[in-house]
Symmetry: C2
Subunit: 213 residues, 2 copies
């Protein structure tokens, strides 16, 4: 019977990430992470300062999954890829968005992402101030989309039918919602996820226009 692998900050973060991915944010506790490692919760305190620090490290790990920037393509394409990357990461770890609020200062991984985004924009010809503006809109859009996407009353593949049932709209009180649901259901194959590209293109068009003037 092999000796138990010794604990380390890295293994604790690994375990916490696994627990969060499996059981969501509500299932992440010092005790559950300990259980995951076959160890008492108190042992974790020798490797992480506390739950806040652990959560911070897990968020940092997730942010680190955002791909490295492509600098050999036009700014619009480079920026679009980063945005898709961020959305993909936030979708893979839905619980991480809610965790952002417990962090105050951004960690190095998030700063690296910000830096990469600004680099793409500056190379594209944006002034420092406009790059700051552009970063702000893009960041808000991507985070916000991930947030709304997460709280949809239906599953991505499921289409809009489920939504109609789930919320049972009184048509006369909500005519605009009703016609929208009708049309989306009638048009079949509506995937809310497609909205991401529509909005992203709109924002990028807007930035292009600002750049030209």
């Amino acid at each position: 019977m092999p000796q138990r692998e010794p604990l380390s900050a890295e293994r604790v973060v690994d375990a916490a990430l696994a627990v969060a991915d499996r059981d969501g944010i509500a299932g992440l506790s010092m005790r559950s992470v300990g259980r995951e490692l076959g160890v008492e919760a108190m042992s974790l305190y020798h490797h992480v300062a506390g739950k806040d620090a652990l959560v911070g490290a897990v968020v940092e790990r997730v942010v680190g999954e955002i791909g490295r920037p492509a600098l050999d393509v036009p700014w619009r394409e480079a920026v679009a890829r980063r945005c898709r990357d961020v959305r993909a990461v936030l979708r893979a770890h839905p619980w991480s968005l809610g965790l952002l609020e417990s962090r105050r200062a951004p960690g190095p991984a998030l700063l690296l992402h910000h830096e990469a985004m600004l680099e793409c924009l500056r190379r594209g010809g944006f002034s420092v101030v406009d790059a700051a503006h552009a970063f702000s809109v893009l960041d808000a859009y991507v985070y916000g989309f991930a947030l709304t996407e997460q709280h949809l009353p239906f599953e991505p593949g499921e289409g809009a039918d489920a939504m109609v049932e789930e919320m049972a709209l009184p048509r006369d009180a909500f005519p605009r919602l009703a016609e929208m649901v009708d049309e989306l259901v009638a048009g079949r194959a509506y995937d809310y996820g497609d909205e991401f590209e529509w909005g992203l293109a709109l924002v990028l068009d807007g930035l292009e226009a600002r750049l030209a003037r």
Copy 2:
């Protein structure tokens, strides 16, 4: 000594809102709400089904603070007002954004807001499908801005100086962030909150262009 006001669902929600506004989301517990009302936590269960239901009711109350739509103005102005309204409400109750994740189906107040937004857009001439697109971008942008605004490493009025200190950027590793901070500090009076209008105008311009074509 006056008889104690009898408990009611409404009074419980009032108290929960007061606790959340004062102590944040972490301070909101059945026991703390009970304390706020001078009552044991267990008494609350006679008026709300449980914590989830209470949280739902509190969110519903907050969403209800979003103003009624102005339908006698051009769509662009009407939509802009609603967006500013939503942002203001989310800023007044910063903890509510994090609470959205615990809700599955949107309550009537949120549906009313969605309906109002769609009404503005449809009156402006957007097709059903384009109104859905437009709603999606706007919603994502506003929520996302509120989210990023909430996690700024510095206080709104404080300017960017605090940010520089707080995160102590190694300039050579983050040249783009460094130049940005420099310029914003040099330019004085940078208020991140101003970014909201810049991005909102960009999104609305984009929608206007889509409407015209």
